[in-house]
């Protein structure tokens, strides 16, 4: 390739990066499934419509939970709605997800979960037994995560207006004094940790939907991440830059969001990312990259290099996090971008998904 041609490619790429760094605008005429997929369309909805409308300092941080202060007490608040189909799947239920999802958003924000509210939208005709199963699951998960359910609401809609049941939980927690985290705090040299194998939850749901006729033993990883959060804060203290619960959009989306927020580059090493063989196999068949697949019990943590080794060890001592790993590093250039070193030896961009119409997974 000639030098001038390379120069032109360089210029074109520069223009694209400038366009990409601009705040996304929401210009669509309708909501499509892409807006819920956690990729670029979701980003345009949040940053192009919600943020400008709500004008909240805490919201602008785009953390997993928002910061609230009451008479000097530092609190965190978050909410999440669950529409997963099917409502019972290998390794979990919509009820467990609803509790753990909100607990984990608090835990990722460095807040000890205190209390939850639970709202149910039920479809006319839902069997009482199915409802009982979910209520028991909610109670069990709340006990396991040591949170109280302090308020709730029930709505019933006509048959066909919701798909058996939707669950919305809102949670409040106390921000831990050990935590000094922000999405903008990543510095070159920081390490990227994951608390266990990635892609289990999304893969389990996709296979449970029976659309592929693949039989597998893959189970959702849904669990409370407070113990992992606690261990990381205890081990790394102020060297812990940020934590993220890698739900919809998976680890790749978390890395992209943080690279943008901190204006740094992140380089992940494909070979170091823990993935269960069954998940790797199913993803291979389905043409899906497990790094983009949702998790419901996996933390991504960014730690200063000197604290990384101890943080991985601390994570590994938490039940369920035995396979925690250091999977990458924060770099300076190119800012806002995530790269991955492929196991084959090349390096490529790992961008936000452009909104694939994924099935409902949470």
């Amino acid at each position: 390739m000639s030098a001038t041609r390379e120069g032109r490619e360089e210029r074109v790429l520069g223009i694209i990066e400038t366009a990409r760094a601009k705040r996304p605008r929401f210009k669509d005429a309708h909501i499509t499934m892409s807006h819920g997929a956690g990729g670029k369309a979701t980003q345009s909805l949040i940053e192009g419509l919600f943020l400008p409308a709500f004008q909240s300092e805490s919201l602008r941080e785009l953390g997993d939970a928002g910061a609230v202060e009451a008479d000097g007490t530092k609190l965190a608040m978050t909410t999440d709605t669950f529409v997963v189909k099917p409502t019972v799947f290998p390794g979990g239920t919509i009820g467990e997800l609803a509790v753990n999802g909100t607990v984990n958003d608090l835990a990722a924000a460095g807040a000890r979960p205190l209390a939850l509210t639970v709202s149910l939208v039920l479809e006319e005709g839902l069997s009482a037994d199915d409802l009982r199963v979910q209520v028991d699951a909610i109670a069990g998960a709340a006990r396991a995560a040591d949170v109280q359910i302090v308020a709730g609401d029930t709505k019933v809609v006509e048959r066909g207006f919701c798909d058996s049941m939707y669950v919305c939980t809102t949670g409040i927690g106390v921000r831990d004094p050990r935590a000094d985290m922000s999405t903008g705090a990543l510095k070159p040299g920081d390490r990227v940790l994951v608390s266990g194998p990635v892609g289990d939850h999304g893969t389990a749901i996709m296979l449970a939907r029976d659309e592929f006729e693949i039989e597998s033993q893959i189970e959702s990883d849904t669990c409370s991440l407070w113990p992992a959060s606690d261990a990381l804060m205890e081990s790394a203290g102020s060297s812990l830059r940020c934590m993220r619960d890698a739900t919809r959009g998976g680890v790749a989306t978390v890395l992209n969001e943080l690279a943008r927020a901190s204006e740094v580059a992140i380089v992940a090493r494909e070979a170091d990312v823990p993935i269960k063989p069954a998940v790797a196999g199913a993803s291979e068949l389905l043409g899906i990259d497990p790094l983009y697949v949702a998790n419901e019990g996996r933390m991504v943590a960014f730690v200063a290099p000197e604290a990384a080794e101890a943080a991985v060890a601390a994570l590994k001592s938490v039940p369920g996090c035995e396979e925690a790993a250091d999977i990458g590093e924060v770099k300076t250039e190119p800012p806002g971008m995530v790269l991955i070193e492929t196991a084959f030896g090349g390096k490529r961009v790992m961008d936000l998904l452009a909104g694939d119409p994924l099935p409902r997974i949470c």
């Binding site: 032109r8 790429l13 190119p334 030896g345 490529r348």
Partner: protein, 371 residues
């Protein structure tokens, strides 16, 4: 993962890369076209370019099933999907391909019952479970996917399922290759042959490439080592002054193809006299339609479609990209007006499209290496 990891071995990759370096003539430039979008995707996903010498250039070809669908066909599909009582089904990446007035995904948001399926058999199953609805499957793809559509149609006919039809957009790979080779725009030195098409049609249909056009073709698998080895085999042919069809993908591709699949194809389909390809225009005998015996399962026959030809958007250079004449980034709208989230051209939609692959994976040049 067994049978996969072996073909992604970085150590072996470096060995083959070394062999390639030893084979090339440093004084000349090589242009090798990967015909199939699956290869384009693999090349970017594994950054195979990084392992090739600078004077070996990979050029992306026309073999991406979604990329070659013209806007008029999307409009026709949407017109079918909007009819009362229809459940319209297609593969996931087809949903985002823009027609002249939005994509299937937009039509779905506006109320059409459009569903993503993973196999034509899923569409047939929908027809069985929704006997009061008309289920249409929007079939796309080269000879690779055509047999599964054919088998589904045979089953529908055998089981007498009357509410199932197919809107057929299956295309064949040889005519566009011939058109490409006849066009003066492009000087190519060899072809990485479409491995999965060849599992069906075999390697023989490509013998015209060495015979009539004096260029090598190597049928290739889709793992990174497969692609590297195929490049090496092409370069070796050139170095030894041979021009042949060779089969690198012997673990899957029989030279004569899959005779059963070919039989099924010839029963269910016949060649269309001509078909419009996105950016390439009309190419004669380049696509399939349902044969006389299956005409009653043809959605176009049963419901009728507007069939209006829509010119490609002016700014869009998908045609040149599909022909390998320009690189994705050389298109005027690449990455600015046309992005994966708001595509103008089809090449930006499918993960197999050259533009989407380059945008998602390759958009990083050597000088901006991470530091």
């Amino acid at each position: 993962m067994r049978f996969v990891d072996e073909f992604r071995d970085a150590e072996l990759g470096r060995v083959v890369a070394g062999e390639i370096l030893a084979t090339v003539d440093p004084s000349r430039h090589y242009k090798v076209m990967e015909v199939c979008g699956g290869h384009t995707h693999a090349i970017y996903k594994y950054a195979i370019d990084d392992l090739l010498p600078e004077n070996v250039e990979l050029v992306h070809g026309p073999g991406c099933p979604v990329c070659v669908i013209p806007m008029g066909r999307v409009d026709d599909g949407i017109a079918l999907a909007q009819q009362e009582g229809v459940i319209f089904t297609c593969f996931g990446d087809m949903l985002r391909v823009p027609g002249s007035n939005g994509s299937f995904l937009d039509a779905k948001a506006e109320g059409a019952d459009i569903r993503m399926v993973y196999s034509p058999l899923d569409a047939l199953r929908l027809a069985k479970t929704n006997p009061d609805r008309q289920v249409i499957f929007f079939a796309i793809g080269f000879e690779t996917t055509a047999p599964s559509t054919a088998l589904t149609l045979m089953r529908a006919k055998a089981e007498g399922i009357e509410n199932f039809t197919v809107m057929c957009n299956h295309v064949t790979i040889v005519p566009p290759l011939r058109a490409l080779l006849d066009s003066p725009d492009l000087r190519l030195d060899g072809f990485i042959g479409p491995g999965h098409v060849c599992t069906v049609v075999g390697a023989r249909p490509f013998e015209f490439i060495p015979a009539d056009y004096d260029k090598p073709l190597v049928v290739s698998g889709f793992e990174p080592l497969d692609v590297l080895q195929s490049v090496q085999m092409i370069l070796l042919q050139l170095a030894e002054d041979r021009r042949e069809v060779e089969n690198q993908y012997t673990r899957v591709v029989p030279y004569e193809g899959n005779l059963k699949a070919l039989e099924v194809l010839s029963e269910v389909f016949e060649l269309r006299p001509h078909f419009e390809w996105r950016g390439l225009g009309f190419i004669s005998q380049s696509a399939l339609k349902l044969s006389e015996a299956y005409a009653d399962l043809d959605a176009e026959e049963r419901f009728g479609v507007p069939g209006v030809r829509v010119a490609d958007p002016k700014a869009c250079q998908c045609g040149e990209v599909l022909k390998g004449v320009i690189k994705p980034w050389e298109c005027k709208v690449f990455g600015t007006a046309c992005t994966p989230e708001r595509p103008i051209g089809t090449c930006m939609v499918s993960p197999e499209g050259a533009c989407a692959a380059y945008y998602n994976y390759g958009r990083l040049s050597q000088e901006r290496e991470a530091v």
